[in-house]
């Protein structure tokens, strides 16, 4: 896989405050790269430099081989940028809005008409083409903004918090769109603090804190690196002591903690098991429980893993 975005020793300083600190990372062509970090970690600064809106203090970024400092126009041609706000022009219809930005990218008028129609269909706004931009819902505006960034058919999409402030349905729609765009061959570089997005769609993740990259790479690899132990959530009918005895004998089990809180039916026990082992070992635990004639109601690996990775990686330096 070839590298399309290359951030090289990037540093950005605002007065005394260091926003980005010697950041180096690479994004492969076709990747969905989730840029995760707490507020103020330097995500937006990095993206603004990438989109040629801001000069770095030192270091540089290359997009498709073009340097943001030396060839900003070539970079702009390759990049579609969606900031974390929606720029509204009142007095403009959806179609005119899209057409205006397409025209700003030097697309000839004859081409624009068909491109705009296609883009509106892609983001499912064809039925609102002649409505005023102002009257769209937030989710629709976000989809329109996405269509706008696609007007010049860029290879790289740089999206700053694309899912923030959206209701769950709108969020899912944006997420699906991103996956669809990745399938079309676009490289997507987006920032977020909604970890569910990262877990579901990203192929690569970079965790940023205090302007420094604290973890980066493939999500599964990172999980193994940062979280050597897995957490199992087990619910069963029977006595707590018996369950603890059975689980305590299994190699690899680090701790068994009864889960407090929530509605517990009589006779049912809810446990959280910290565990280090492979998938086969996980199934062995289940087998052991069944063999001991414990009635298992619920057996699952904890879904809050990405959050744990995040918390593990970031030490809360920013706040």
């Amino acid at each position: 896989m070839s590298v399309i975005i290359e951030i090289v020793k990037l540093t950005k300083r605002y007065g005394k405050k260091l926003a980005v600190n010697d950041l180096s990372l690479q994004v492969e062509t076709g990747a969905i790269y989730g840029f995760v970090g707490p507020n103020g970690a330097g995500k937006t600064s990095t993206m603004r430099i990438l989109c040629t809106l801001m000069h770095p203090t030192t270091g540089t970024i290359r997009v498709g081989g073009y340097d943001v400092l030396k060839n900003p126009r070539d970079v702009r041609r390759l990049v579609g940028y969606m900031p974390d706000f929606f720029g509204v022009y009142d007095d403009m219809t959806v179609m005119e809005y899209l057409d205006f930005f397409a025209a700003c990218y030097d697309l000839p008028a004859q081409q624009r008409a068909s491109i705009n129609t296609d883009l509106l269909a892609l983001v499912d706004l064809s039925h609102r083409a002649n409505d005023m931009v102002d009257n769209l819902s937030r989710g629709m505006k976000q989809r329109l903004a996405l269509a706008r960034t696609l007007a010049h058919d860029p290879q790289v999409l740089v999206l700053d918090e694309p899912a923030s402030g959206l209701d769950p349905r709108a969020r899912v729609e944006i997420r699906e769109l991103l996956v669809e765009l990745a399938r079309m061959g676009k490289t997507i570089f987006f920032s977020t603090h909604i970890l569910a997005d990262v877990a579901e769609i990203c192929t690569h993740v970079g965790i940023l804190e205090g302007g420094k990259l604290v973890a980066s790479g493939n999500l599964n690899e990172m999980q193994r690196q940062l979280m050597p132990q897995r957490t199992l959530s087990i619910k069963l009918i029977g006595s707590l002591e018996q369950a603890q005895a059975v689980l305590g004998n299994i190699p690899g089990v680090l701790s068994v903690i009864p889960y407090e809180g929530g509605t517990t039916e009589p006779d049912s026990v809810h446990l959280r098991v910290a565990f280090g082992g492979t998938d086969t070992d996980v199934s062995d635990i289940l087998q052991a429980l069944v063999m001991a004639k414990l009635r298992v109601l619920h057996f699952t690996e904890d879904m809050r893993d990405v959050e744990s990775i995040f918390l593990q990686a970031t030490q809360g330096k920013v706040t």
Binding site: T52, M54, V79, Y81, Y89
Partner: protein
């Protein structure tokens, strides 16, 4: 297409592009502006104001005893002067407000960053904004032409006077517009940008006349109160200085040019008699005004473009 036609088409496309007829920003601004009801209201109000002023002038003149050719000519001049005055007033009030919000407004709507990440060039952004403002003012000026034409019906006004007034109004509009947009690129908030633009215009166009009167008063008392006649060189230098100052304000430039045209029948030049009997010939203020302020407008637009091109440090 024949090769000739193709060359012509390419020629047209290149130049229309260069001149900004295909400027997306200009296109958008014109469309949005004409969509708003506000501007229809302003246009109507402005035309009604001119109509009422002309009507009251007409009534005042026609009620006087006789209505001879000579008086009609004066009335023609009065109508012409009135309309030009109202046009100038309009230009001064509307133009800075139109462009002072141009860039700061984009910042406030958070669309400026979007524009800057597109391939739209900084000079196209400035050109689009300024030309849409100038085009709108031009529309207002042209809309008042029919009423201004009443002056020709009454007589006493030469076509050259009309063309000079249009040229001066256009250059003034351009200067106001470029001051507005230049200020707009420096300030974050539209309201402050408008206030500062008007303030700067006041300084340039009204501080200078005050300077002019002070200067004339002091130097003429020194120059002409002495019993011995002043040396011709000093006298010429004095007239030259006054001449330049006259050219720095549209009203003084226009009034003096008009006076020169009526009294001496000279359009381009002014002849001033000296104390020793000879005379000195200087250019008429109106075209020096056009020259100076066109250059000033170019300077302001250049600064604005530089500001838009600038990447955040």
């Amino acid at each position: 297409m024949t090769p000739n036609l193709r060359t012509l088409t390419t020629f047209w496309q290149t130049w229309s592009n260069r001149l900004g007829f295909e400027n997306p920003l200009l296109n958008k601004e014109l469309r949005s502006r004409m969509r708003g009801r506000r501007w229809v209201f302003i246009l109507t109000l402005y035309l009604a104001l001119i109509a009422m002023a002309i009507l009251s002038l007409y009534l005042a003149f026609s009620s006087s005893s006789s209505f001879y050719t000579d008086e009609r000519q004066w009335m023609g001049k009065a109508v012409f002067g009135l309309v030009v005055g109202l046009q100038a007033l309009l230009v001064s009030f509307i133009t800075p407000a139109l462009t002072a919000t141009a860039i700061s407004g984009e910042r406030e709507r958070q669309t400026f960053d979007l524009l800057r990440t597109t391939l739209l060039r900084p000079r196209s952004i400035i050109f689009g904004k300024v030309s849409s403002a100038v085009a709108f003012v031009l529309l207002l000026l042209i809309a008042s032409f029919p009423m201004q034409a009443l002056a020709f019906l009454l007589g006493g006004v030469a076509p050259s006077e009309f063309f000079i007034s249009i040229a001066m109004l256009l250059v003034t509009t351009l200067v106001y517009a470029s001051i507005g947009i230049m200020i707009s690129t420096f300030l974050k908030r539209s309201l402050t940008a408008i206030v500062v633009s008007y303030a700067l215009i006041l300084v340039i166009f009204f501080f200078v006349p005050i300077l002019f009167w002070t200067f004339t008063g002091i130097s003429s008392s020194i120059l002409f109160s002495t019993p011995t006649p002043a040396s011709p060189t000093r006298e010429v230098l004095f007239y030259l200085a006054i001449g330049i100052l006259l050219c720095l304000n549209p009203i003084s430039a226009a009034v003096f040019s008009e006076y020169n045209l009526i009294e001496n029948q000279r359009l381009w030049l002014v002849e001033i008699p000296l104390q020793n009997g000879s005379s000195v010939t200087l250019p008429s203020p109106w075209w020096i005004y056009l020259l100076i302020f066109s250059l000033l407008a170019i300077l302001f637009l250049y600064i604005a473009t530089w500001r838009v091109r600038r990447v955040d440090p």
